[in-house]
């Protein structure tokens, strides 16, 4: 079946190999990053208030690389992803900065160029497979619709492609499932169908917005393994949003930790999870369950996330930070580079040692 899929170009494969060896090397072997985001700002404007959802996010992603964006609800991770496809409601969203995917300048695309990009160059899978599929169309019709939209092929050919895709994502009795409505499938199968739909036009970049969060624990792992396998086979880049550090450790090459609309720490998955340098990342790692005594309380980060309508001038995490000083409250810390692809937004970055407990990296 692989003739139908674009096989991963060799350059991509080498780039992903070099990326996994040292995710820091950006343009080392002449390969341009697939995604470049520079100083992305997203604000939601309404009559009552302006919500500063994303405040200057920059990152780049090589072909075949997997980036995990980690952060709690409201940290701007989903908004960043939707901004990459310009899926946010146009009339109340203000975006600035630069976003490039492939050779497309995302913010400069016309409406027709935008719809041509969505689902083909970049596609997305969502958190809730229950509600993310149209309930009154069959799975086959929904996949075929995407294929027909981007390839202009016949309905019959599109349905054949749909069947092939369902088999590719390991949906059992695919022929029957093609004719099924979403409500007739389990959550795991629905998410597989969603993945099949997203892959239908060979995207170079797959955006996954917490695709395993709404699933049962056992199904979560199956879907995660499937996604990692597909990513390796197809050689596509993936941006994976999650708040599950374990998931990040499983699938990511690079990790970006977001807080209050900023990336506060970024680096290879190994560096970030074993040697976190931002107090927020450290707090988050400390608050996970990792074999501590049962009677010891899990260390939660005190306080709550800031009000995104009224952000203070200083470091957004400072009010909750045990290490905060006058300096932190006065001005936002700059990005401190700690290696070729490692950056931390904290005045005290580099002053923390490796934490006593860290997640085992797969």
């Amino acid at each position: 079946m692989s003739f139908f899929f674009r096989s991963a170009p060799t350059t991509t494969a080498s780039a992903s190999a070099s990326a996994s060896a040292s995710p820091s090397a950006p343009v080392a072997d002449g390969v341009r990053p697939l995604v470049e985001v520079e100083d992305l700002q997203v604000r939601f404007v309404s009559r009552e208030a302006t919500v500063h959802a994303v405040n200057g996010v920059s990152f780049s992603l090589m072909p075949g690389e997997v980036l995990c964006i980690i952060g709690e609800s409201g940290s701007g991770k989903s908004v960043t992803m939707r901004a990459l496809m310009r899926l946010l409601p146009a009339h109340k969203t203000r975006m600035s900065g630069r976003m490039r995917v492939g050779d497309k300048d995302v913010l400069a695309l016309s409406p027709s160029e935008l719809t041509a990009m969505r689902g083909a160059l970049v596609s997305m899978i969502f958190q809730e497979p229950m509600t993310a599929l149209d309930p009154v169309y069959t799975i086959g019709e929904q996949i075929a619709e995407t294929v027909m939209r981007h390839t202009g092929c016949s309905r019959a050919a599109a349905l054949r492609r749909g069947l092939e895709l369902l088999e590719f994502v390991k949906v059992p009795s695919a022929e029957r499932r093609l004719k099924a409505y979403p409500h007739e499938l389990s959550g795991g199968l629905r998410q597989r169908a969603m993945i099949a739909m997203a892959l239908s036009c060979n995207p170079s970049l797959l955006l996954a917005d917490e695709p395993t969060t709404a699933l049962d624990a056992t199904v979560q792992i199956q879907v995660l393994i499937l996604m990692r396998k597909l990513q390796k086979e197809l050689g596509m880049s993936v941006i994976f949003v999650t708040h599950d550090l374990g998931v990040a450790a499983q699938i990511a090459d690079k990790v970006a930790v977001m807080y209050a609309g900023r990336i506060v720490e970024m680096g290879s998955v190994k560096e970030v999870l074993s040697n976190p340098q931002h107090p927020y990342t450290r707090g988050m790692l400390a608050s996970t369950v990792h074999g501590q005594d049962r009677d010891r309380d899990i260390e939660a980060i005190p306080g709550s996330p800031p009000d995104m309508r009224r952000l203070a001038p200083g470091c957004s995490f400072a009010p909750r930070c045990a290490h905060a000083t006058e300096e932190c409250l006065a001005s936002a810390p700059p990005e401190i580079r700690m290696g070729p692809a490692r950056a931390v937004r904290c005045f005290r970055a580099g002053q923390f040692g490796a934490p006593s407990a860290s997640l085992a990296i797969a």
């Binding site: 899926l87 969505r118 596609s123 309930p135 009154v136 939209r149």
Partner: protein, 318 residues
């Protein structure tokens, strides 16, 4: 699927029977004795007995009902007291006139209401939406008999563009909408009648479509590269069951004809017939008309149920 259809039809039977029982009971629910309508006040006891026997009033009520039902099933609804003609013919003649009016009104109202509702949903919260919403509130609030009279005053009396009443000189026997002379007579009543369902269907379409547009899957549709027109098509397909349900009910109401509108425009439909029958205390005509209209309403509801099942895969078809 066919099993489901058969079951729904079966469910409609007891409702239809209930309707016939009610229509039969009308004779006894109406004030006074049914015999008083037929007889002069000074009729002798023998004459009363004779009439009782010929009309079957001497038998117990359940037997009377069975006989009446048997006749009704064969299409015999009795004889009009006022005109002495068979009720079946009177009702069917009036019904065909009402159908002309209500089908035209339904087509006009449904297409206009659906389009406007869709526009309002699409421009949710913007001026188009507010305009349409305002229009639909006016449509719901304005009494249609008042609107009918205003239309007559403006278009028939003041401007003299359209006839005020009736179905034209050729009468109701050979009425055709393709004939402009006859069509002219239908315009004002059709417009007035279409105002009845316009507002409510507009509101239903607007709320159903804008609710669907807020669902998560709309984002999926955009994310897979569909244009706004294709997204709207999905939204309509999802909103259709809710809209169809209201449309079906409204269609049922309009099929019953409107006593007020048909009386104002002297349109010889079922509403006009009912009005006449009430004024002349013509119980058989009243009975027959109500029976036919109620059965049409039951059938419309059944049809809507079945159509809904066909368009919404989430309704279980077992």
């Amino acid at each position: 699927m066919w099993l489901y259809v058969a079951r729904r039809i079966l469910y409609a039977v007891p409702i239809a029977l209930g309707v016939t029982a009610f229509c039969f009971a009308l004779v006894y629910l109406a004030p006074g004795n049914p015999l008083q309508l037929l007889l002069p006040p000074d009729a002798s006891a023998e004459v009363i007995e004779l009439i009782k026997k010929t009309y079957g009033f001497d038998k117990p009520i359940p037997v009377q009902y069975a006989i009446w039902l048997g006749r009704a099933l064969t299409g015999d609804l009795g004889v009009s007291i006022a005109t002495n003609r068979p009720v079946t013919g009177e009702v069917l003649g009036a019904l065909s006139n009402t159908v002309i009016l209500s089908v035209a009104a339904v087509i006009l109202a449904f297409s206009l209401a659906f389009t406007l509702g869709l526009l309002a949903a699409w421009f949710n919260g913007r001026w188009v939406d507010r305009l349409v919403t305002g229009f639909s509130i006016v449509g719901v609030s304005v009494p249609n008999y008042w609107l009918g009279m205003v239309l007559i005053i403006v278009f028939a009396v003041n401007m003299n563009w359209l006839p005020a009443t009736g179905m034209g000189s050729k009468g109701s026997e050979s009425f055709r909408l393709t004939d402009w002379e006859q069509l002219r007579h239908a315009i004002l009543p059709v417009v007035t009648m279409s105002m009845i369902p316009l507002g409510i269907i507009m509101r239903t379409t607007r709320s159903a479509v804008s609710e669907v547009l807020n669902h998560d899957f709309v984002q999926t549709l955009r994310a897979k590269g569909l244009g706004e027109f294709a997204v709207l098509r999905h939204a309509v397909r999802n909103a259709l069951p809710a809209v169809l349900a209201v449309m079906g009910l409204q269609f049922g109401y309009l099929m019953g004809g409107s006593i007020l509108i048909e009386t104002i425009f002297t349109w010889p439909g079922t509403g006009f017939l009912l009005n006449k029958a009430i004024l002349t205390r013509d119980i058989p005509v009243l009975q027959g008309t109500i029976l036919v209209l109620a059965l049409i309403f039951v059938a419309t509801n059944l049809a809507v149920d079945l159509i809904q099942t066909a368009v919404d895969p989430r309704i279980k078809r077992a």
